[in-house]
Amino acid sequence: MQKKGNEAKISPVLAYTMFDWKNVKKDFPIFEKRPDLVFLDNASTTQKPLVVLDAERDFYLKSNANVHRGVYEIAAKADQLYEQVRTEIAEWIGAKPEEIIFTKNATEAANLIANGLATTLGVDDEIVVTELEHHANFLPWLEAAKRSGAIVKITKLGVNGGTDVVSEINEKTKIVAVTQMSNVMGIGPDINEILMAAKKVGAKVILDSAQGIVHSGLRVDQHKIDAAFFTGHKLFGPMGTGILFLRSELSGINPLLFGGGMIKELPDQWLDTPHKFEAGTPNVAGLAGLSAAIKYLRQFDVKEIAEHERSLVKMAREELLKIEDVRLLSPQNATSMVSFVIEGVHSHDIASILGEEGVCIRAGHHCAKPLMNALGVTASTRVSFAMYNGPEDVEKLISAVKKVKEIFT
């Protein structure tokens, strides 16, 4: 068992067989309800452990009240819980509590930061993004550029999923917005290099951690990122819980949402950060679930999880390459996913056949059209692992892919 506190030393070579994914799987009730489920769509959303479901239910059972509104006991409890989750997340990623803003998802968080920074941009200022970006870290910047007259520079996909961000950074660069880990390639650019180059010219670095945080962690005290965002549902928490880390120095940007719970004085004196960014009733129960998810995740060593997932990636890659006409798109060092195409078979047909075999994967453009164009495909098939997956899942995947080949040959 890899839960922390276990004294046993596990060698990296044996980590694959030693990681007790079977026991981990027992924490996730969906696999009990659907024992045949082969869930390999974890980059899209992960399954939820029972502790997360319990935490959400517990809130509604015992202390359901709105935050920032009431003075009665359960309202105070809801407030306390809400701020407690903020503190826990801050501590987890090395931020101050007031630097943690709750949103409904990563997309909203990305829009908040891009919208807020748009007013700081001028004509000919440059925003650097990469071809690896998910649309969530792409379209908000295109919009920010449209409104400000700034220019979006898109760094090209290089060999093995790399992209040269640093050489695009110059005196005109004001923002560098990059993914920590591409949702198709399973790798990301070197953040340290980017930070160094960006800081030299005074550019802000925004990190899309939606995929990266669960596989590589995030420490904003070690990496002086200006803002980062992620979503709870990809790290075993509930849907509807997004996080924006916004460094204190940026707290003066405009809010994205206006309304209840964010105003000090009418018409436009906002509360201090983070509350000025959190208009409307937040997903308190969801955040209770997210708190449980993060505590659950933190029992494990993120490196051991990554090692386990890498072993599954290796196995899947080796087996897929044995199948005729399979072409892998993601690089060998991808942390937790394998993206591929089968020449002559559309990815949607692959997904349908795999789905009938109970193997859940994702097909399409993965909200990453610039990357699909760079790869020269209209769509691709993605297999993405989480810590509860095991070699048996890979075996079922491979036998289903073989069935695809049989049907289409």
Partner: protein, 125 residues
């Protein structure tokens, strides 16, 4: 019944009326943003009747096969009869069960044809 039955696979591998018609009276293109399927449809229309159907597309087996099957039915059909058609009828003609996630693929050719005919009718009013 298997969605990838013989008929679907046959139409996917050997689509009928493949290729656009030169000098077509009605033409339209459409795409399924979900999976990037693209289709372009051209129609030869005379005296209120579809006399020719040609298409090209880049898509999944379901979208290509369903467009091919649709094309076979449409040649010789009057525009009035085409307007009486509906989604259910198009799906039924495929002869295989289409899961909710694939309905858009299966109806791509039909919706594109409707688009082409609407444009044609507007320009001939």
């Amino acid at each position: 019944m298997d969605i990838y039955g013989e008929i679907i696979l046959d139409h996917f591998k050997h689509p009928r009326q493949s290729g656009l018609i030169n000098g077509a009276e009605a033409i339209a293109d459409d795409l399924n943003p979900l999976c990037g399927d693209k289709v372009k449809i051209s129609l030869k229309i005379a005296d209120g009747k579809i006399e020719g159907f040609g298409f090209e597309g880049d898509g999944c087996a379901i979208s290509v096969a369903s467009t091919s099957i649709l094309g076979e039915q449409l040649v010789g059909m009057t525009l009035a009869d085409f307007e009486k058609m509906n989604n259910e009828e198009v799906l039924t003609k495929l002869g295989v069960p289409i899961s909710p996630g694939r309905i858009k693929c299966a109806l791509l050719g039909y919706s594109c044809t409707k688009k082409a005919i609407t444009v044609y009718k507007h320009s001939h009013e």
